[in-house]
Amino acid sequence: MRPLVYLHPAGGVRPTKVLEKLKPRQPVFPGFDGTPTVAGLNSRKALGKWVGEYIDREIGGPCDILGCSFGGAVALWLAILRPELVDHLVLECPAGLQTIDAKLRADPAEFRKALFVHPEKAFPVSKTREVEAENRRMLTHYGAEDGKDLELLQTLETIKHRTLILHGTEDRIIGRESVRLLKSRLAKSFLVYVWDAAHNIEVDQPERMLELVEGFLERSEAFVVNRAG
């Protein structure tokens, strides 16, 4: 199997069953989880370049990428800017393609509810309030507050990697239109809806997500062939 790099959402790196099982490398974007920001690094596009440099340094060749939400948009930029470093791409409810509901974003309690159908499945979080708040502030820092990245939208079609797009059927943060659009623009992509999952599919339905991601990374487009029984 190729190395796997996980690009985290705006909440920073959090342990999940999926990550425990897949054991990806998990670079922390500058400014998240108590790390310092880097001067001049202030867009998702720039983060895509930054991840490319990380892969050059730590892996030295192509790898599989799993990007979640904010990290999904960064993963798309990585595939556009450094296509030679990406083998297979998995996008878990990727951001960047659509404006996020301002009302939802303005209400942290409601926003948190929108993250999960089954919050009881989430692992306990040990981050301080300050770190959580700083992570949220990073959305502004990286120009991602609105959610939509027009430049990304205009260049999406250059991505030719095999891509698996996952969307929770109860996701109110990233709308269905957003993943439909992505599916229509990526020539070699597969869109799969995960039943009874909200924005954080890793937490809500880890087994379903693992089955999909492991199948896709192991068997590429042949993951659609049933091997059971």
Binding site: T169, R180, K183, S184, F190, L191, V192, Y193, V194, W195, D196, Q205, R208, M209, E211, L212, F223, V224, V225, N226
Partner: protein, 373 residues
């Protein structure tokens, strides 16, 4: 007011049996051939008798109904008719492959030129034994299946589904339905919990086997409240009431014909399904709330214990001369405010000639009086 001509396609040469499944050792395929021809002819004729919908449904393992796959019948109707809506009421979505249902319904919608009414039913309890599906899971399976069917019809790009009961790596159905975004839905709603579900799913509610109008009103109230919570306002046409209906030239002719036919329905056609249904209701959580299971038992018992006169009085059936049936329709409509009546006119072993005469009386003397309700 819209009227639907609904058919169960019973096998009317069966002997009484309370066994489940009903033994098929005496099944005569030659007779079945005759039934299918006669029943299809009647259903096609419904278009000329002023009916707005022609309806059929799915049942298994008994003479109660010969439509194991009602979409086969729907295909025949779609081709042979021009105006009438083809109301599939419907496929039992928890028991079947939802993608197959989406495909077959889309075929029917295209063949009929956009006349499909898509019933997405949970099924009556005995079907769960027939298809070896856990009745405890009926609600969850129905909810997931309906969501998947809607996506099969509306997704603009190929997609996959990773669910609890249904998993498909990639789906892209051919054809898609003609009606956009999709054909109108009907979901059975004969109990408060199913009425709530129909409202949540933005579907027309279908009530059958009414035991009294108060219970029906309660279900309608629950349905409307659930619909409002889901952000829509049902109209009269979103409330469908199913009725056994017998229309004859005189009240006494109608009563005599229906009495015998209903006795056959209760004693013979319902024999096996009643046994299986009892098992399911006793041993499962088919109804999520115990009170609803009890309510269902009471409802069926009340219907079966009531005389024909009591059933007419209670708004459980329509029976009589055209003049009497017009009054009965007006009364039930006045109480419930529904916009669709679904008539089962082939009740039990009621002779097909009597059904035909009833259809013509409906066309000539009932429909003109009630179509503008």
């Amino acid at each position: 007011m819209k009227f639907s001509f609904f058919h169960l396609m019973p096998y009317t040469d069966a002997q009484a049996s309370a066994e489940w499944p009903v033994p098929n050792r005496d099944f005569d395929a030659g007779k079945a051939h005759g039934y299918y021809r006669a029943y299809l002819d009647a259903m096609i004729h419904a278009e000329d008798c002023g009916f707005d919908w022609v309806g059929c449904n799915e049942h298994h393992f008994s003479p109660y109904g010969l439509m194991a796959n009602c979409n086969v019948i729907g295909g025949a109707l779609a081709h042979a008719t021009r105006r009438i809506r083809i109301a599939m009421m419907g496929n039992l979505v928890p028991l079947n492959n939802p993608v197959r249902i989406a495909e077959e319904y889309a075929m029917l919608d295209c063949i009929s030129g956009g006349r499909l009414v898509a019933g997405l039913m949970r099924g009556i309890p005995h079907e769960y034994i027939a298809y070896n599906i856990n009745p405890d899971k009926s609600w969850a399976r129905q909810r997931e299946a309906i969501e998947l069917i809607l996506r099969c019809w509306t997704e603009p790009e190929p997609f996959g589904w990773q669910g609890e009961y249904f998993t498909f790596p990639q789906i892209s159905i051919w054809p898609k339905p003609l009606q956009k975004p999709h054909p109108p839905l009907v979901i059975s709603a004969s109990s408060p919990e199913s009425a709530r579900f129909a409202g949540e799913m933005k579907a027309t509610m279908g009530m059958v086997l009414i035991s009294d109008l108060a219970m029906a009103k309660e279900c309608i109230a629950v349905y409307k409240e659930a619909a409002r919570k889901a952000g829509w306002e049902p109209k009269a046409e979103n409330i469908l009431i199913g009725m056994h209906t017998c229309i004859a030239d005189t009240d006494s002719q109608a009563m005599a014909a229906l009495k015998s036919a209903k006795e056959y329905f209760d004693r013979v056609l319902m024999g096996g399904p009643r046994t299986a249904g009892r098992l399911v209701l006793q041993k499962s959580r088919y109804y999520q709330e115990a009170a609803n299971a009890e309510r269902m038992r009471e409802r069926l018992a009340k219907r079966e214990a009531a005389t024909l006169e009591q059933q007419i009085e209670g708004g459980m059936i329509f029976c009589g001369s055209p003049q009497s049936v017009v009054k009965q329709i007006r009364r039930v409509h006045g109480e419930l405010g529904n916009g669709v009546f679904n008539f089962t006119m082939k009740v039990g072993n009621l002779p097909d000639a009597v059904v035909r005469r009833g259809m013509e009386l409906f066309r000539d003397r009932v429909h003109p009086e009630v179509r503008d309700l």
